[in-house]
Symmetry: C2
Subunit: 238 residues, 2 copies
């Protein structure tokens, strides 16, 4: 842990850091697959494949020349491609149900308490590639007390582009070094640090169901490290 | 009151509708003027003059060719011009104190309860010309439970330009007609209706200390009308 001036605000990665996308989406995938008579397909493998396409898509987004797109659209494109590869046809309504499932993810058990404690001292904002409508729906569903929904849509840039982090600080009228990104992903924190932000790593060993994270090559000592958001609150004196 | 499909979300004007800028700023102006030995200057007249410059500035902003600017900067420019006209010199620190006073305005007595009731049923967002940092600070100071901070900075357009309203709906992924602007100002509601939004008028007869509002020429029957945000919650079944 580096000695730092305390940040003036905290910006959160959301998928995986605050909410457990894998359990929530796999449950929904399982329901849909059962309803269409395909309970033999592994819902977790389906979910992991869908998510991996997203991670690759975001990593390479800067090369596509596309501007900001609401995440629902990207999720839908990646789902359609996954279904083609699986040679599985799903009805329009089922595809819509699956895409909208990302609006109703469940928080990790410590998230709501941890955020409420951190909020006493710090403004809490999102710094996610999710779009505003999705993050508003998720916050209302899961009880996440954000002070503002910032990130890709407001910045008009996706993480890990530096602008996604720097424009989030700019929207709060603070310097990048006064903002701390809280994330369970080394790759995200690596990019945030390169953009000038402080960094807080949250261990989420179950994000991939216990499998190793895909971004371990970016691991390094972060400014803060904690096993949960309540532990981060403790470390930050909240 | 017009028969309407209920809105899917509520967007709030903030200054005057949710918070009582006049009482809060006049108190601060009074403190600063006393401290510099000018308690003879009428703090309410000072405040009203400052605010009127803002209203005129916003009305005419589209003609200036300037892009979005954080409201602190506009407040400072208007304060500096007011002080020149008054032939009153204030130190840099005092000017800064006055500008930052707009981050710490007090809510009207019904605002916090009304918003919390409305929030049970509707996502609540700001649709203000204030910038994000100001509105985050104000919400934390006054306890305003916004689901998202939208409006001029996210839309990169000031009210009453149609884009300020339409991009707020777009950020929520709903049609303009599914969003209801809640405001104490007929001019704001007139522009919102022209942009396709539903409209809710809140009577705030003390916004100008009992003096008539400057936008009475835009008065017309609105979709909802109420004497407070708790009354609006009642009318909307919250």
């Amino acid at each position: 842990m580096t000695a730092n001036t305390p940040p003036k605000a905290l910006a959160f990665d959301v998928f995986g850091t605050v909410v457990d996308w894998r359990t929530s989406i796999a449950a929904l995938v399982g329901q849909v697959l059962s309803a269409v008579g395909r309970p033999d397909i592994d819902a977790f493998a389906f979910t992991d494949d869908w998510r991996m396409r997203y991670l690759i898509g975001m990593r390479d987004f800067g090369q596509t020349g596309r501007g900001f797109v609401k995440l629902d659209i990207l999720h839908r494109e990646m789902l359609d491609a996954l279904l083609v590869d699986m040679q599985l046809d799903l009805a329009e309504a089922d595809r819509h149900t699956l895409v909208m499932g990302w609006h109703r993810l469940e928080p990790w058990p410590d998230s709501v308490e941890g955020l409420n404690r951190l909020k006493r001292r710090f403004p809490l904002v999102t710094c996610s590639n999710g779009h505003i409508a999705l993050l508003v729906n998720m916050a209302r569903h899961a009880g996440l007390p954000w002070d503002a929904i910032l990130g890709a849509e407001v910045a008009q840039a996706y993480k890990p582009a530096p602008a996604a982090y720097q424009r989030t600080a700019q929207a709060l009228d603070i310097a990048p070094g006064e903002l701390c990104l809280v994330a369970a992903h080394h790759g995200d924190l690596f990019a945030a640090r390169a953009a000038g932000l402080q960094t807080a790593f949250i261990h989420r060993p179950l994000e991939y169901g216990g499998a190793p994270a895909p971004d371990l090559q970016f691991q390094q000592p972060w400014d803060y490290e904690a096993g949960s958001l309540t532990e981060l609150a403790e470390r930050m004196g909240c």
